[in-house]
């Protein structure tokens, strides 16, 4: 890993910054000195969860940490003598996270903002109230913590933080964030909860590893994936060309009418749910040893749920080929954008735009488009039924 460019770490001149605290009472009782209300890009935002295992709470006057805050405002441009090589570090995931630590007692993790380092918190650390143990890590790629070439997303930073807390023995701690750090803190408070509460199931912040399938034989994996894919296609066709098609379509169209026409609604729905869940479980059981590692941040990523909806809609819902076409098209497109200038990191914007346009103008997906231009026959060959309009 390349060490980040140290020259970029010019200390932030807080004397020109406008401090902003998310606690009105605090601002009222401790008005900022005039000289520090000058315009500036820095916001001080503090998310201070009670214990981040439960719900976050806002700052309140008299909070032991608040008494340390004015120190941050009065901190000058001189970062002073940093502890340098003496900084302790712990391994968190594949990073060596360096941190500053001061005091003993109730732990408080102080998360610095964008373009800052743990050093930003030094004035706070120097003035901590008694019985507070302040811990300020250098986030990935900042200060003395090396980072990867990419992926500085907030979920990744929050994952680092969760992993960082583990070797330090921090189970319950206050979380204080400045600027970007507050976003990281909130992300951790919201999504890290599950990982930390069920370490036996989720592997905690470290996640779960698994040996690769077939001892890493990718060809064997390929055939297994193909078999699962074939099973899914077979299941879809089985629903399409049996009585199940009529039952499902009738229920989708009008549940009450379907029931009084003799369709066992509950039984049909349960059967469908079980069949769908079985296929999803098969795919998941294959995917886990294929990628060999996952953690809560990854496994509960909302984009997985979104993808499960977007791909079929894009390809064409209520067809067999639609989800296949949609997945191939969108995944390929996504990967293409990811490696192609000028999109690269911004590919999600383009990706999102394509999906919005598709939903607006292709309500029947790609298959609907095929049907319109090549006729129903072509679409039928692709496995879709002729689309019937009710109008």
């Amino acid at each position: 890993m390349p060490q980040p460019d140290r020259s970029l770490e010019a200390p932030i001149d807080l004397s020109r910054a406008r401090a902003w605290i998310d606690a009105e009472q605090l601002v009222e009782t401790q008005p900022l000195p005039q000289s520090r209300q000058a315009n500036g890009p820095i916001w001080v935002y503090l998310a201070l969860p009670d214990t981040f295992r439960t719900s976050p709470r806002r700052l309140y006057v008299g909070d032991p940490l608040i008494s340390a805050l004015p120190a941050a405002w009065s901190w000058g441009p001189d970062a002073g003598d940093r502890p340098g090589d003496l900084m302790p570090a712990v391994r968190a995931r594949d990073l060596l996270v360096h941190y500053l630590e001061r005091g003993t007692g109730e732990p408080a993790v102080l998360v610095h903002g964008n373009w800052a380092t743990s050093s930003w918190w030094e004035p706070v650390l120097d003035r901590l109230p008694a019985a507070v143990r302040g811990i300020a890590p250098d986030l990935r790629g900042r200060g003395r913590t090396a980072g990867p070439d990419n992926d500085y997303s907030i979920p990744s930073l929050a994952g680092d933080l969760a992993a960082f807390a583990d070797p330090l023995g921090l189970e319950r701690f206050h979380l204080v964030g400045h600027s970007l750090g507050s976003a990281v803190a909130m992300e951790l408070a919201l999504t890290g909860t599950l990982a930390l509460q069920l370490p036996d199931v989720t592997g905690g912040p470290v996640g779960i590893s698994m040996p690769p399938l077939f001892g890493g034989d990718r060809v064997a994996s390929y055939y297994l994936a193909a078999a699962i894919f074939a099973l899914a296609l077979a299941a879809s066709l089985a629903v399409r060309y049996t009585r199940a098609h009529y039952a499902v379509s009738a229920i989708r169209s009008n549940e009450a009418v379907a029931a009084v026409m003799g369709v066992d609604v509950v039984r049909t729905k349960v059967a469908l749910f079980v069949a769908s869940a079985t296929l999803a479980a098969l795919a998941g059981a294959f995917y886990m040893p294929f990628i060999t590692h996952t953690d809560s941040q990854d496994a509960f990523d909302i984009s997985r749920s979104v993808a499960a909806l977007v791909f079929p809609i894009f390809g064409g819902i209520y067809t067999t080929a639609g989800p296949v076409v949609g997945t191939l098209a969108l995944r390929s497109f996504e990967e293409y954008l990811r490696v192609t200038p000028p999109w690269k990191e911004g590919y999600q914007v383009m990706y999102g735009a394509v999906i919005v346009i598709a939903v607006l103008f292709l309500p029947r997906g790609i298959l609907g488009l095929v049907r319109r231009h090549l006729g129903g026959r072509a679409a039928q060959l692709m496995g879709g039924r002729r689309w019937r309009s009710s109008r």
Partner: protein
């Protein structure tokens, strides 16, 4: 014995008793009309008899057997049909498929597509 017998049927929606002690019986080959102003509970009564709503009291007997607890699809298969105030075709399905649903899940589980087409022809619904 009456074909359909309804005895003291009750259905409440929270505090409101939409149907409260409804009793009637219909003999085979006869027609019976239920009339009443808006909100009188006609639709609720139909939903109770067809099984879309569960009764809070009373009994429904069809061909002599008690179907009060039977679910809607079972009543349909026993021979109890219903229609709705507004015609409710399955808009996503073709005319033939609409007919197929009724047959496959009713009393002709082996009806083929071409046979269904014959039925549609008979009532001149085919364009």
């Amino acid at each position: 014995m009456a074909l359909l017998e309804v005895e003291g049927l009750v259905r409440r929606f929270r505090g409101l008793a939409a149907v409260d002690g409804l009793s009637f019986s219909v003999d085979e080959g006869r027609s019976l009309a239920i009339i009443g102003p808006n909100g009188a509970g006609k639709t609720t009564a139909f939903n109770l008899v067809s099984g879309l709503l569960a009764a809070h009291g009373g009994r429904v007997r069809f061909r002599g057997s008690d179907i009060t607890r039977a679910r809607a699809h079972a009543r349909c298969r026993a021979g109890l049909g219903r229609t709705f105030q507004l015609v409710q075709p399955f808009a996503d399905l073709t005319v033939i498929e609409n007919v197929m649903v009724g047959a496959l899940f009713g009393r002709e589980p082996r009806l083929s597509g071409s046979a269904a087409r014959g039925r549609v022809d008979r009532v001149a619904l085919w364009p």
